[in-house]
């Protein structure tokens, strides 16, 4: 190789490595957890340049003793808190059941949101019900919070005869316009510029609805993310851009996405977007931040960028084995705890909840999900014949089916006749 000079030290390529690998003892003592209200809640109309420190701190409401404190405290009443807890517990119960269904071979794939429930449930509760959500694939909590029928989610996961998406999408890639929930893409961060475009359209029409978009910290490396940030800033779009920093993008730790150098929240600063870093396992902080951002957007004060600092308690998906790349018990040692547990303890502290009520709700939700699962499975599971009619494969490519798809559809139907004779029609 040319270019080496003997009097200079050789250059070194830095490849980021996580602090712990399998077999290591996880130790998060270096993770800075500032006290509650270390950053006061600014006015919603604040200029991004005046609140830059929010991108480097951590917005918190629940302290280590489970009390809600400080200027970010959204002061939700007990019913709202119980509703938040229930939605988070429902999300967890749903995840557990569907994870098991995948392990039983009833579907191909599943993605849990364990440990991150606050980032979907609390955010959804802070938005208006018709604000448009552009989720990534781990925000099932939005649908559950907005009351989308659980059986419809399961039908989608099973790609069965009642799947609203006609068995085309990978499990968990829901679409629910009636809940203002955009169809999920498997390509990362593509929803980012789309959410900004939706918000621009809403603003140009003098609408009052805003949009919100979620992606993982790994996806912030995608070009779409940066295009969207530019557009959001340029047009002062009424959009809330959120990054769920759950520390892991499959097996790549957050440092591989650039997290070693600065906070993800700080990425918003260069675009001139108000940016917050929030304790993602503190449901009240998540709610408060989202509410602040939503109020800001709705009053034409522009976009907000939020990083939720959280932890992915489970694997990336059912196709992943986190034991192969990260230390065991990381989640147990996560310094910001478990969002469900924290909210439960807060409610108990308020005298508005009890361990008995919690256990009863846990059992009730497990039973609800189990019962719904039976209902969904009556419509079929993946690969067991109770699927959509074959010809639906050719529908919706275009509004009207062109000649070449009609020809191919006829060919496919002929193939099915040859394979299965007169019994070919799906049940």
């Amino acid at each position: 190789m040319t270019g080496k000079k003997s009097n200079l030290a050789p250059l070194r390529l830095h490849i980021p490595e996580p602090k712990f690998r399998p077999g290591d003892e996880a130790d998060f003592s270096d993770v800075a957890v500032p006290p509650v209200d270390s950053i006061a809640r600014p006015d919603e109309a604040s200029l991004p340049a005046d609140i830059q420190s929010l991108a480097f701190g951590l917005v918190r409401v629940l302290d280590d003793d489970h009390q809600a404190k400080g200027s970010w405290n959204p002061n939700l009443d007990a019913d709202q808190l119980r509703s938040m807890l229930r939605n988070m517990m429902l999300t967890r119960a749903f995840d557990d059941r569907m994870f098991r269904a995948q392990r039983q071979g009833k579907t191909s794939f599943y993605m849990k949101s364990t440990g991150e429930e606050a980032t979907s449930v609390a955010t959804a509760m802070a938005l208006a019900s018709d604000d448009m959500c552009f989720p990534s694939y781990r925000q099932q909590g939005i649908l559950l919070t907005r009351g989308y029928p659980i059986v419809r989610m399961m039908n989608q996961i099973y790609s069965n005869s009642q799947d609203h998406l006609k068995g085309r999408q990978l499990p968990i890639m829901y679409s629910a316009p009636e809940c203002s929930f955009f169809t999920i893409s498997g390509n990362l961060a593509t929803q980012y510029p789309q959410a900004v475009g939706w918000a621009m359209a809403s603003a140009s029409r003098g609408d009052t609805r805003i949009s919100a978009v979620w992606c993982g910290e790994g996806s912030t490396a995608e070009g779409d993310f940066h295009s969207a940030m530019t557009f959001a800033a340029v047009y002062n779009a009424p959009v809330i851009l959120q990054v769920v920093n759950n520390q892991w993008a499959i097996s790549s730790f957050s440092g591989i996405a650039g997290g070693e150098r600065t906070t993800f929240a700080a990425r918003g600063l260069g675009y001139g977007i108000a940016s917050l870093r929030v304790d993602g396992n503190d449901p009240l902080a998540v709610y408060a931040a989202m509410r602040w951002a939503a109020d800001r957007a709705r009053t034409n004060n522009g976009p907000t960028f939020i990083e939720y600092f959280t932890y992915r308690a489970e694997g990336h998906s059912t196709s992943d084995d986190p034991g192969a790349y990260r230390a065991a018990q990381e989640f147990e040692k996560w310094p910001l705890g478990d969002p469900v547990d924290r909210l439960k303890k807060h409610l108990i502290l308020l005298g508005e909840w009890s361990e008995e009520q919690h256990q009863a709700q846990h059992d009730e939700l497990a039973e609800l999900v189990k019962k719904t699962q039976k209902e969904a499975e009556a419509n079929g599971i993946l690969g067991h014949g109770m699927h959509q009619p074959f010809e639906t494969m050719f529908e919706d490519v275009f509004e009207e089916m062109p000649w070449h798809l009609k020809e191919q559809c006829a060919q496919m139907i002929d193939e099915q006749h040859r394979k299965f004779g007169p019994e070919w029609e799906p049940k």
């Binding site: 475009g197 939706w198 918000a199 779409d224 295009s227 509004e399």
Partner: protein, 341 residues
């Protein structure tokens, strides 16, 4: 509805189509680099921001991914965005938003969300644009499920097709052959270029009209051979056919997807010979699809193998673009070869 005709070149016809659609449909929004105040580098949107306002016609950052991605979101909201990509060569940074998102929105959501977006983009060579301002990437899009691909060849078609594209509820790629933006040209492009601004324009109705998507245009009826072509090459082919005095049946495909297979089949079965002419590179180009289709459907009617005349499999060379361009000599040679059999 169509009103009086006016002499327009293709740019003026496109401008007229956009103006009419902005007027008729409040959901139509134009966006792109330099298209607002300035009216676009080719002036296709000149005067439209002043007339229809900044929220209907506006400039964007230099980010094709952002332009198209935001367009998808606007379409999902209920608007009919018409983004301009300044040159087709720059469409690649926005390709994922087109291929994976716009094209599949209807399918993946089973109709919950649709993407009635028309992406306009000047394409093709012939203006000394070098390798980054001359490409013809249409076959990328005909290979994608869920996008319609359109290439007009004259001002009248450009206006009628663009109006139909904007009104269509599916995403459309509308490639505008920039060599003929300022009027049909003589076709002599395998020699150094003559100033394009001297080319004449043609009569175009001033009002609203549509040309149905998926229907080929008949440029010339004949018995000797079928020539399937589109865009700039329509003019080159016409000139060659006139010079050779050959009785060719020339189809201007206009919409590459969905394709007018009936017109193709009818013509080739009648003539028994088929030549495909396009400007894009040869290998895996749209001509390959056309040749395969003709072979599948018309094999027993063919008197000679289907021939392809295309650009070469190299990037577009700046100083030698007129040698790269599939000009009259290349086309005439192919016609001679087909007619020998």
């Amino acid at each position: 509805m169509m009103g009086d005709t006016k002499t327009m070149n293709m740019i003026e016809a496109i401008n007229s189509a956009l103006d009419i659609m902005l007027e008729r449909d409040p959901d139509v929004v134009l966006m792109g680099e330099d298209i607002g105040y300035f009216g676009g580098v080719f002036r296709a949107t000149a005067g439209l921001q002043a007339k229809h306002g900044k929220t209907r016609v506006f400039d964007t950052p230099i980010s094709e991914c952002g332009i198209i991605g935001a367009g998808v979101g606007m379409a999902a909201y209920g608007l009919r965005p018409v983004p301009e990509i300044q040159f087709a060569d720059y469409i690649y940074p926005g390709l994922d938003q087109l291929v994976s998102e716009a094209a599949r929105l209807r399918y993946r959501s089973a109709g919950d969300f649709i993407c009635p977006m028309t992406v306009r983009s000047p394409f093709g060579g012939g203006i000394f644009g070098g390798q980054t301002h001359s490409q013809s990437p249409e076959s990328l899009f005909t290979h994608v499920c869920g996008i319609k691909t359109i290439v007009p060849s004259n001002p009248y078609d450009a206006k009628g097709l663009l109006i139909a594209a904007i009104e269509d509820n599916d995403p459309v790629i509308f490639f505008e052959p920039k060599r003929i933006y300022n009027g049909p040209f003589s076709g002599y492009y395998d020699r150094p270029v003559e100033p394009w601004s001297k080319h004449e324009a043609s009569a175009v109705p001033e009002g609203y009209y549509r040309i149905e998507l998926g229907k080929a245009g008949v440029v010339r009826e004949g018995e000797a051979l079928t020539i399937l072509t589109y865009g700039t090459m329509v003019h080159v082919v016409q000139m060659v056919v006139a010079e050779m005095g050959i009785d060719a049946d020339i189809l201007d495909l206009r919409t590459l997807l969905p394709l007018d297979v009936e017109a193709i089949e009818r013509s080739v079965k009648n003539t028994g010979r088929c030549l495909v002419v396009h400007e894009a590179t040869r290998t895996s180009g749209f001509g390959a699809e056309l040749a395969a289709l003709v072979q599948e459907r018309c094999f027993y009617h063919l008197e000679a193998p289907v021939e392809r005349v295309t650009g070469f499999d190299t990037p577009y060379p700046h100083s030698l673009e007129w040698a790269y361009f599939p000009g009259p000599v290349r086309i005439a040679s192919a016609i001679e070869k087909i007619m020998k059999d």
